[in-house]
C-alpha cells in the first residue's frame, strides 16, 4: 500500500492509529484519580510529542542513515520558528505560509551550513555543526535581538502589520494562529464518565503532518537514495570507488533533515507563536541526539519513541511535587508514607533531570539498540514461544525498523 511493503504499511498504520487515538491512549486515568498526574493527553504535550517526533525523524535521516552526527540541528528548528513567527507578524495568522517559509528558510540555512560542515567527517563534522549552531544561538540572544527579540523570544504584538490578516481581533487582542479560520487552539473536550479526553485542532494538524513526514521518511529509508546513505555510513571509500560522489548525497540528507527540523520549528511556532532563542542552544541539539539514540538510531520508529520518552519526563515528572506524592501514598500509615515520599522525592519535581540521567544510562547499558531493541526483544520472546521453526528467517539479517 502507498508503495510500501507489508511490514512498513503495518508500521505506518499502527503509528497512525496511535497518533490519531492519542487523546484516548495518553489519558488512561480518570481525571480526578491520583494517577491522573501521569496523563499526558493534553494539547500542549501531545503537540510536543509529535513535533519533536518530526524533529527526531528528520535528524535520524541524517544520523541514522549516513552516520553524520550533527550537534547543531536545533539551529534549524530555531530558524524555522523565527521564520514562522515573522510570517505571523508580517503576513497573516494562517499557519500554512508560516510552515512553508519555515521549511524554506531552514532548508537554505542547512544548505549553507551543510556545504561547509560536510567538508569534514566524524567528530570534526560534529564540532563544525556545533560551532555554527552556538554562533546562531549566541547572536540570536544578543546582537540579533532586532530580529529575534533575544532573551524573551520573538513574539506577536498588537502593532504587527499582518498585511493579509487582521492586526487585532474585535476584542482588541492579538489574533490566534489558525488554518484557514480553524483556530489551532480550539479543543473539543469529551467527557466520558470520570474520564475526559481533549481533541485539539492544532494537535491533529501536527499529527497529520507527522504521519506525512513519517511516511516520507519510510519512503526515503526504503529508496535507492536511502540505500546510498546507508552505504555512506558503511564505507565511504567503496562508495567513491564505485563511482558515487558521497558529498551531494550527504548534503541532500543534511538539507532534508534540516527542513524536517524547520518544519518542526514552524509547527512549534504555529502551536504557540513565540520563538525563544534557547531552542537553538547546544543542549537543544543534544536533546534530539539523545532522543534518536535513546529510541534507536537508524530505525524508523525509534526517534519517535525517544522523543516521546524525553518529552514525557520533562513535562510530567517535573510537575510531580511533594503534595502529589503525599496524596499517592496517603493510604499508608504516616511513617511509611513519609518514608516513601522521602525516597521518591529526589527523583521527581526538581529532580526530574536525575531520573532522566539514570534512565539514559540504563537504556544504553542494557538496551544498546535503544527502546526499539526492547520492543524487538519482547517480540522475539513471543515469537520464540509461538514457534520453533523460524530458525531460517532469524538467521538472515534484516535492517531494523
Amino acid at each position: 500500500m502507498l508503495g510500501l511493503n507489508n511490514k512498513d504499511t503495518l508500521l505506518l498504520i499502527i503509528v497512525a492509529a496511535i497518533t490519531l487515538l492519542a487523546p484516548f491512549i495518553l489519558n488512561p486515568f480518570p481525571t480526578q484519580s491520583a494517577m491522573a498526574q501521569f496523563n499526558a493527553g493534553y494539547p500542549d504535550l501531545m503537540q510536543r510529542f509529535v513535533i519533536f517526533g518530526i524533529f527526531a525523524i528528520g535528524f535520524n535521516i541524517l544520523f541514522g542513515l549516513t552516520g553524520y552526527l550533527s550537534f547543531g540541528h536545533a539551529a534549524f528548528l530555531g530558524v524555522g520558528s523565527y521564520s514562522a513567527v515573522w510570517m505571523f507578524k508580517l503576513l497573516s495568522m494562517n499557519v500554512i505560509p508560516a510552515i512553508l517559509l519555515a521549511m524554506l528558510i531552514s532548508g537554505l540555512f542547512a544548505v549553507l551550513i551543510g556545504f561547509v560542515s560536510l567538508r569534514r567527517s566524524g567528530i570534526y563534522f560534529s564540532i563544525l555543526t556545533l560551532a555554527f549552531a552556538q554562533m546562531s544561538f549566541n547572536l540570536a540572544y544578543s546582537v540579533l535581538t532586532p530580529i529575534t527579540n533575544g532573551e524573551t523570544g520573538l513574539q506577536l504584538t498588537l502593532n504587527d502589520p499582518r498585511i493579509l490578516g487582521q492586526v487585532t481581533t474585535a476584542e482588541g487582542s492579538i489574533p490566534v494562529t489558525s488554518l484557514f479560520g480553524l483556530e489551532m487552539r480550539s479543543t473539543y473536550e469529551m467527557i466520558f464518565g470520570p474520564w475526559s479526553f481533549q481533541f485539539n485542532a492544532g494537535y491533529y494538524l501536527c499529527a497529520i503532518i507527522m504521519l506525512l513526514s513519517f511516511y516520507i521518511a519510510i519512503r526515503i529509508f526504503r529508496s535507492p537514495f536511502g540505500m546510498m546513505l546507508r552505504a555512506i555510513k558503511s564505507n565511504q571509500t567503496r562508495m567513491s570507488y564505485t563511482g558515487l560522489n558521497p558529498r551531494p548525497y550527504t548534503l541532500a540528507a543534511f538539507v532534508i533533515s534540516g527542513m524536517y527540523a524547520g518544519l518542526a520549528g514552524g509547527l512549534m511556532a504555529s502551536m504557540d507563536p513565540l520563538a525563544g532563542a534557547e531552542r537553538m542552544q547546544w543542549t537543544a541539539s543534544g536533546e534530539v541526539v539523545l532522543m534518536t539514540i535513546l529510541g534507536g538510531a537508524g530505525t524508523l520508529i525509534g526517534p519517535i519513541l525517544g522523543a516521546g520518552f524525553i518529552k514525557y519526563f520533562e513535562n510530567i515528572f517535573s510537575k510531580i511535587n511533594d503534595n502529589i506524592l503525599h496524596s499517592w501514598f496517603a493510604f499508608m500509615p504516616d511513617g511509611f508514607e513519609n518514608a516513601l515520599v522521602a525516597i521518591v522525592h529526589p527523583f521527581v519535581g526538581k529532580g526530574w533531570h536525575l531520573t532522566l540521567g539514570i534512565l539514559f544510562m540504563l537504556v544504553v547499558v542494557f538496551l544498546p539498540g535503544g527502546l526499539v531493541e526492547a520492543g524487538q526483544r519482547v517480540a522475539k520472546l513471543f515469537r520464540r514461544r509461538k514457534s520453533e521453526k523460524t530458525s531460517d528467517e532469524s538467521a538472515q539479517s534484516k535492517p531494523a525498523e
Partner: protein, 448 residues
C-alpha cells in the same frame, strides 16, 4: 501494568462508542458554556506555580515555591495566618478564595522561555489552573505573560526586573509586584551621589540581553542626571563565566566606579573577578574605586561571599525590615522553614495574596473582574509600605530599598543591610515614560 492495559482497552472501546454517537463532545476555549478559561466548578480552585526548578536559578525557584506553599496554607486558613493579619484589605477570610479551597500545581520553567510556556500551558490545559505565577527572569516573565494573555488567565509575575515586563511587553492579564530597572536607578542614584560624590566616572559592564540593556539604560540615565559621567559601557556575553578580560581594562579607562549590570551567576562571577583584580583597593582620580551592583539578590549574593561587603545595590524587599508586615512574614516563613525568606519569596507571597484578595473583592475568578479589582488598587501591610497597582501598566509602585553588603554578618543569611528606604514618590514615573514606551496593554482576555 496489566491492569492499566485493561483500562486503556476499555477506554478505547467506550470512546469509540461515544464517538460514533456524536453525542457528548463539548467545545471549550473558542466559544463555550464557561464564561472564562478554566472556570472552577467544584469546591476547589487551582493555581499554577511556575518556577525554575532546574538550572542556575533553581534555589531561587525553590524559595519562591516555599513562599507559594506558605501563601496557600495561610489563604486556606492554616498556619499563623501570616500577612492576612497585616494586609490592609480585609476581604480574605482564610477559607480559600471565594469559599473554594486552594489547590496548586507546580512546574519547571528551566529559566527558558520555551520550557516556561510549555509548563504554563500544561497547567492551564491539563490541570485547569486559573492563574499562573512565578519565574525568575524577565525573559520568562514576558513569555509567560504573553501566553496567559492569549489563554485568558491571570499572570502574577514573580521575580522580573526588566522595564519591558510592564513597559513595551505589558499585557492586560499580567501584573507585576516586583520593582524594575528604572526604579533601581531612581532609588540608587541619589544614594550613590551622597556616598561617592557627584563627580564620578562610571564604567558599565552589562549582560548582553534585554534585561541588561534596560538596566544599563536606567542606571546611566539616573546617574548622569546627578552629574556622573559614563566612561564606557561594555556588553558581556550571557554565557561568560570568566570576566577577567572585561574587568582588566577598567582601571586603565579613567573610571572610578564599576557598575555591574549582571544578575545571578553572571553577577557572582563578575563581582568575584572584579574584587580579585583588587579594584576596590585602588585609588583612581584621588577617590576610592567603587563597585555597584544595581540589582541585588541575597540568595545570589551569598555566592559571591565576602566580595559583596560594602557594595551598594537595590532590592525589592529584605527580611531585616522592621515594619509589622515584614516581621510577620519573616516569622511565618522562618518558623516553617528555618531560615529567612528572600525577596523572590516575598514578592511571590504578596502576589498570591493580592490575587486572592482581588478575587474576593471582585466576587469572581473571571480575569477581567480580577484585573479591574487590581487596577488602581491601593494597599498596605504586605511588607513594602503603601503600594499602588497602577492601572495603566499593571506595575506596583512602592518603596525601594537601597542595600549594602554587610561588613560583619552574624549569620549566613545576614548578607545585606538596608542603607535607605527610598520613598515611593521618588521612584515613580509616567506610564508613557520613554523607557517604557512602545507597548500596548490591550484589553483583558477572559479566554472565552
Amino acid at each position: 501494568m496489566t491492569r492499566t492495559n485493561f483500562t486503556r482497552r476499555g477506554v478505547l472501546r467506550t470512546g469509540a462508542v461515544a464517538g460514533a454517537g456524536v453525542a457528548l463532545p463539548t467545545i471549550f476555549t473558542a466559544s463555550s458554556a464557561a464564561a472564562y478559561t478554566n472556570e472552577p466548578t467544584g469546591g476547589t480552585v487551582t493555581l499554577g506555580f511556575n518556577v525554575p526548578q532546574t538550572g542556575p536559578y533553581a534555589d531561587e525557584g525553590a524559595d519562591e515555591l516555599r513562599a507559594y506553599e506558605l501563601a496557600v496554607e495561610h489563604l486556606n486558613g492554616g498556619g499563623d495566618g501570616g500577612l492576612l493579619n497585616t494586609f490592609s484589605s480585609k476581604a480574605l477570610k482564610g477559607n480559600g478564595i471565594l469559599g473554594k479551597k486552594i489547590e496548586y500545581v507546580t512546574g519547571d520553567t528551566q529559566t527558558k522561555s520555551d520550557a516556561a510556556r510549555a509548563s504554563a500551558r500544561s497547567m492551564i490545559e491539563k490541570d485547569g489552573a486559573i492563574m499562573i505565577t512565578g519565574g525568575s527572569s524577565s525573559g520568562v516573565a514576558v513569555a509567560v505573560q504573553d501566553l496567559c494573555q492569549s489563554a485568558g488567565v491571570i499572570f502574577m509575575a514573580g521575580l522580573t526586573h526588566s522595564n519591558d515586563t510592564t513597559g513595551k511587553d505589558k499585557k492586560a492579564n499580567g501584573f507585576r509586584h516586583f520593582f524594575n530597572a528604572y526604579m533601581s536607578g531612581a532609588a540608587l542614584a541619589p544614594v550613590l551621589a551622597a556616598q561617592y560624590g557627584t563627580d564620578r566616572k562610571a564604567y558599565h559592564l552589562t549582560a548582553d540581553y534585554t534585561w541588561g540593556w534596560t538596566q544599563e539604560e536606567s542606571i546611566v540615565a539616573a546617574t548622569e542626571a546627578l552629574g556622573w559621567e559614563t566612561v564606557n559601557t561594555v556588553l558581556t556575553p550571557l554565557a561568560a563565566t570568566d570576566f577577567s578580560s572585561y574587568i582588566a581594562p577598567v582601571l586603565n579607562s579613567g573610571a572610578d566606579v564599576l557598575v555591574l549590570n549582571h544578575y545571578g551567576g553572571n553577577m557572582v562571577n563578575s563581582l568575584t573577578n572584579a574584587v580579585q583584580f583588587g579594584l576596590r583597593e585602588k585609588i583612581i582620580n584621588n577617590k576610592n574605586f567603587e563597585i555597584v551592583v544595581p540589582l541585588y539578590s541575597r540568595l545570589m549574593a551569598r555566592g559571591a561571599g565576602e566580595n559583596v561587603k560594602g557594595i551598594l545595590g537595590s532590592t525589592n524587599w529584605h527580611w531585616s525590615l522592621q515594619d509589622e508586615a515584614s516581621k510577620a512574614f519573616v516569622k511565618s516563613f522562618g518558623t516553617k522553614y528555618g531560615f529567612p525568606p528572600s525577596q523572590a519569596a516575598q514578592t511571590c507571597y504578596a502576589q498570591t495574596l493580592l490575587y486572592a484578595d482581588a478575587c474576593e473583592r471582585a466576587g469572581t475568578f473571571n480575569p477581567c473582574g480580577i484585573a479591574e479589582a487590581l487596577e488602581g488598587f491601593e494597599f498596605d501591610g504586605l511588607g513594602n509600605g503603601p503600594t499602588l497597582y497602577r492601572a495603566e501598566d499593571h506595575q506596583c509602585f512602592k518603596d525601594v530599598l537601597v542595600v549594602r553588603g554587610k561588613e560583619n554578618p552574624t549569620s549566613e543569611f545576614d548578607v545585606l543591610e538596608v542603607v535607605e528606604v527610598t520613598p515611593r514618590a521618588q521612584v515613580e514615573y509616567a506610564h508613557d515614560h520613554p523607557m517604557f514606551a512602545g507597548g500596548n496593554l490591550g484589553s483583558c482576555n477572559p479566554g472565552a
